[in-house]
């Protein structure tokens, strides 16, 4: 068993309107040091597979097929044995 944490964020080249709005709010609260905010998704995925290499391969496949839209988003994941 493996547990994966998948992070999906908009690509650097793609403007993030939610992040920009949150940055504006942080500035109005006095957090002037905030230079950028990017908002993304955090997903926990449990996999019933025996070895790590297989888990990585499957995660890559599912990320590119569904979890992230690679036209506008990047993804990365962390994998821990459960």
């Amino acid at each position: 068993m493996f547990k994966a944490v998948v992070y999906v964020t908009l690509k650097e080249s793609v403007l993030d309107p939610q992040g920009t709005a949150v940055k504006g709010s942080l500035h109005s609260l006095g957090f002037d040091e905030v230079s950028d905010v990017r908002i993304g998704k955090y997903m926990e995925v449990e996999l019933d597979v025996a070895d790590r290499a297989a888990a990585e391969e499957r995660l890559k496949e599912m990320s590119e097929k569904l979890l992230a839209n690679t036209v506008i988003e990047d993804y990365r994941f962390e994998l821990v044995e459960a």
């Binding site: 080249s13 793609v14 403007l15 309107p17 709005a21 998704k41 569904l66 839209n69 036209v71």
Partner: protein
């Protein structure tokens, strides 16, 4: 011409689309549930607006993996006419049947109002009954209509005249190059955020959307050598 209106859990403009086909064309039309895998009998496939799968993950993402989409892929390859409106546009981009992606509106606001569009390309199966450059009034209703594609894709689309509609007035969502609707390279798949099916009678506020439907029928008739009926 036999039309299919696809229905996903969370579709909510399916009835409008069905009625638009009935009212504008008087052609046979059926609701097709998202689990169906064979849609060979249909000539035209319409993906309606709404919030399929509650917009979970991303608008259109889950619907693009639904069983019926494999059949839509096949229909697209066979050159059948396919049109996605609003959420249907999002589904078609997620399914990679159309280039680009729809992001959250730049100002984060859900925009629901009638806007002006410019018909950028009237030499298509979906717009032949409009004048080139004609300004039409069609309603929008979306929170994720901010079209994006990279520079390379954009110049490719311009080269191939794939940009079919642009916002003529204020850009309501921040879409790149004011894009409101695009088609694929082969010209048989169209996606647009505005709702022509909501603008098919004067008493709806505008009947400027009607000619999208009549253009589709005309193009189907020309392709299939039908001069009347069917």
């Amino acid at each position: 011409m036999k039309c299919a209106v696809l229905v996903f859990p969370g579709s909510n403009c399916d009835v409008d689309m069905y009625k638009a086909v009935e009212d504008c064309l008087g052609q046979p039309v059926e609701y097709v549930w998202y689990t169906r895998t064979d849609i060979d009998e249909f000539d035209c496939i319409l993906l309606p607006g709404g919030f399929s799968y509650g917009d979970y993950l991303r608008p259109g993402a889950m619907a693009s993996m639904a069983p019926v989409l494999a059949a839509v892929q096949k229909a697209a390859e066979a050159g059948k006419l396919i049109m996605g409106i609003c959420n249907g546009f999002q589904v078609l981009t997620e399914a990679r049947l159309l280039p680009g992606a729809l992001r959250r509106n730049e100002k984060l606001k859900f925009r629901c109002e009638t806007v002006e569009l410019r018909v950028e390309n009237n030499n298509t199966a979906f717009t032949s009954q409009y004048e080139a450059g004609e300004i039409i009034r069609i309603p929008i209703a979306h929170g994720d209509g901010n079209y994006y594609c990279d520079e390379e894709t954009l110049s490719e689309m311009k080269k191939n005249n794939q940009i079919v509609f642009r916002y003529a007035g204020e850009n309501p969502n921040g879409s790149i190059d004011d894009i409101a609707g695009v088609m694929n390279k082969d010209g048989n798949v169209l996606g647009m955020m505005p709702h022509p099916e909501r603008a098919v009678h004067k008493w709806l506020g505008s009947d400027d959307g009607k000619r999208v439907f009549t253009s589709i029928l005309q193009s189907w008739r020309e392709k299939n050598g039908v001069t009347h009926g069917a």
